[in-house]
C-alpha cells in the first residue's frame, strides 16, 4: 500500500506524464495492454495511468530472472501484483503463455511489452509472438495499444539517473485477432496500431 503510493507518485513526478485515451475508454473488462518498452519505469507508468478500479485488476508482466532477484525487486513486483514469467527456462506444459493465461484467470487484465526487452526508443522493434498466441487461446481479450512517449529520454537504457522531462502515455482503440489471421499478418498489424498512436502525438 505504502510502497504502491510512493512508487506511483515518484514515477509520475519524474515522468510528468499526461495520459490520453484516443477512441478508447478505461474499462474493467479483460484486456491486454501492449506497449513499447524503453525504460524501467514503463510498467509502473502504464499501471499508474489507469484509474484505480481498473488498476486493481491489471497485472504487469515482468521477467522472473530480473524481478525475483533481491528483496527490493521482489517487494516491488509483489506491490504491483506482477506476473513473473521465466524467459530463460521454458518447459513443456509450463510455457510462459500457459502461465500468463492461468494467472490472468477470468477477471484480470495485463500489461505486456511485446518487443521482449527495452529498445533504444528511436523506433519500435518487431513484436515477439507471445501476443499472437495469447489472443489465439483467448480471442475474447481486448488488445489495447499503449504508446509511451519520451520515456527513452527520461530514463534511457543503461542509465540509472533519470532526467525529469515530460512524457505522454496514449491509449488507443482496442483490436482483436481476426478469425483465420496468421501470426505474420497479426503481429505487424498490432505494431502498426501502436505506431499510429505515435503519429497522433506529433499532430
Amino acid at each position: 500500500m505504502f510502497t504502491e503510493a510512493l512508487l506511483t507518485t515518484l514515477a509520475r513526478l519524474l515522468s510528468g506524464a499526461s495520459v490520453r485515451w484516443i477512441d478508447s475508454q478505461p474499462d474493467t473488462c479483460q484486456r491486454i495492454y501492449f506497449a513499447n518498452h524503453t525504460s524501467h519505469l514503463d510498467a509502473i507508468l502504464v499501471w499508474s495511468a489507469l484509474p484505480s478500479n481498473v488498476r486493481k485488476l491489471t497485472r504487469p508482466v515482468a521477467a522472473k530472472d530480473y524481478w525475483n532477484g533481491g528483496w527490493v525487486r521482489r517487494h516491488i513486483a509483489k506491490t504491483f501484483n506482477a506476473m513473473l514469467v521465466d524467459r530463460k527456462e521454458i518447459k513443456v506444459h509450463k510455457s510462459p503463455i500457459d502461465i500468463m493465461l492461468r494467472e490472468l484467470g477470468n477477471t484480470h487484465s495485463m500489461i505486456l511489452f511485446p518487443e521482449g526487452g527495452r529498445s533504444s526508443g528511436e523506433s519500435v522493434g518487431d513484436f515477439k509472438s507471445g501476443l499472437f498466441y495469447l489472443s489465439k487461446k483467448r480471442p475474447d481479450l481486448e488488445l489495447i495499444p499503449v504508446y509511451i512517449d519520451n520515456m527513452n529520454r527520461i530514463l534511457p537504457r543503461g542509465e540509472f539517473l533519470p532526467v525529469p522531462l515530460l512524457s505522454c502515455i496514449t491509449f488507443g482503440p482496442p483490436l482483436w485477432l481476426e478469425a483465420g489471421e496468421t501470426k505474420n499478418e497479426f503481429l505487424p498489424r498490432a505494431r502498426t496500431a501502436l505506431l499510429q498512436l505515435q503519429e497522433t502525438q506529433r499532430d
Partner: protein, 316 residues
C-alpha cells in the same frame, strides 16, 4: 494620507482584486451574450488569460508574505519551464548525463545562491561555469553528431528558464527600504509584463497593420508593439501616482516601457522556438493547457533587465 509600506501593499492587493473581478465580470457577460458581435474565440482567449492572471496574482500574494517561499516558488517554476523547454528540444542519448547535472545541480544551486544573496556567485554560475561544463560533459559522452547545436540548446534553455527568471525573486534582496517595498517592486515587474502583453494584444487587434514577421507570429504588428509599449508607460505613470516604485515619475515610465519592450522580445523569441518545433504551446504535452513557459516568456526576458535598471536607479 501617508500609508506604511505594508499598508500600501494591502491597498495594492485590494486594487488588483477589484480590477481582476471587474475584468472577470466583463468576460462572463461577453461569453453569455454572443450577439454583441465580438469574436467568440477572442472572448474565450480573454477568459483563459484572466484565469491565468488570477493564478499568478494569488501566487504573487506569497511574495508579499515570505521571501523564502517566493524563492522556492520561482525555483519550481524554473524547473518546470526547463522541463518543457528540454522536452521540446531534440536531445540525444549522449546528453543524458549533462541534462542530469543541469536539472539537479545547476538549477537548485542557482536558487540556493539567490537565497543566500550571493550576487557575485549566482550572476556567473550559469553563464560561466554551466556554460563551460555542459559542452565538456557532452564531449566526454562522446557523441559528436550536431554537437554544437545540442550544447547551445541546453545552454539556452538553462539561461532563459533558470538564469533570467532567477532575477525576479532576486529583486527581493535589493538593498533598498523595507521588505514590503521590495516585494512591491517584484509585483510591479510581473504585473507590468502581464499588462503590457495584454495592451500589445489589444493594439494588435485594433490598429495592427504591419506584421513584424509573418513566419514567427502572424498577429504581432509594429503598431501593437509601439502602441502597447507606450500605453504600458502610461499605465506605469498611473501606478506611480499611488505607489511610487521609483524616485522620479519618468523613471517609472521608462522602466515600464523597458518591461514592455523586453516582454515583446521574450514573446517573439519563444514564438520562434515554438514555430521551429512546429507546436503552438510549450505545454502541448499537457492537453488543454498552455505550458508554464508560454505564460512566463515575457517575464524571463524582462526580469534581468529590470533587476539591473532598478539596482542602478534605486541604489545609486
Amino acid at each position: 494620507m501617508n500609508l506604511t509600506p505594508v499598508q500600501l501593499n494591502w491597498a495594492l492587493a485590494g486594487t488588483v482584486v477589484v480590477l481582476l473581478s471587474m475584468a472577470t465580470g466583463v468576460g462572463q457577460i461577453l461569453s453569455r451574450k454572443p450577439r454583441l458581435g465580438i469574436n467568440p474565440h477572442a472572448v474565450k482567449a480573454f477568459n483563459a488569460r484572466l484565469r491565468a492572471w488570477w493564478v499568478i496574482c494569488c501566487l504573487l500574494a506569497i511574495a508579499f508574505l515570505s521571501r523564502e517561499l517566493t524563492i522556492i516558488l520561482f525555483g519550481l517554476i524554473s524547473f518546470w519551464a526547463l522541463r518543457e523547454f528540454i522536452t521540446l528540444t531534440p536531445t540525444r542519448a549522449g546528453d543524458h548525463r549533462a541534462l542530469f547535472w543541469v536539472f539537479f545541480f545547476f538549477t537548485p544551486l542557482h536558487y540556493l545562491l539567490i537565497y543566500f544573496d550571493q550576487y557575485e556567485l549566482y550572476s556567473i554560475l550559469i553563464p560561466v561555469y554551466a556554460f563551460l561544463f555542459i559542452p565538456l560533459r557532452i564531449a566526454i559522452a562522446g557523441d559528436t553528431k550536431r554537437f554544437l547545436e545540442r550544447v547551445a540548446k541546453i545552454q539556452s534553455g538553462l539561461l532563459v528558464c533558470v538564469y533570467c527568471l532567477g532575477f525576479a525573486p532576486a529583486i527581493l534582496y535589493l538593498d533598498i527600504g523595507e521588505y514590503a517595498q521590495r516585494s512591491r517592486l517584484l509585483f510591479f515587474l510581473i504585473v507590468m509584463s502581464l499588462v503590457s502583453e495584454a495592451l500589445q494584444f489589444i493594439w494588435d487587434r485594433l490598429y495592427g497593420r504591419n506584421v513584424i514577421s509573418e513566419s514567427i507570429n502572424g498577429t504581432r504588428t509594429w503598431e501593437g508593439m509601439l502602441g502597447g509599449s507606450a500605453s504600458a508607460a502610461l499605465v506605469g505613470l498611473t501606478y506611480h501616482l499611488f505607489f511610487h516604485p521609483f524616485h522620479e515619475y519618468w523613471h517609472t515610465a521608462l522602466v515600464s516601457l523597458l518591461i514592455a519592450v523586453m516582454g515583446f522580445a521574450g514573446a517573439m523569441t519563444m514564438s520562434a522556438i515554438k514555430r521551429d518545433r512546429g507546436v503552438k504551446d510549450f505545454g502541448t504535452l499537457v492537453e488543454g493547457h498552455g505550458g508554464v513557459l508560454d505564460r512566463i516568456d515575457t517575464i524571463c526576458f524582462a526580469a534581468p533587465v529590470f533587476y539591473h535598471v532598478a539596482r542602478q536607479l534605486l541604489m545609486a
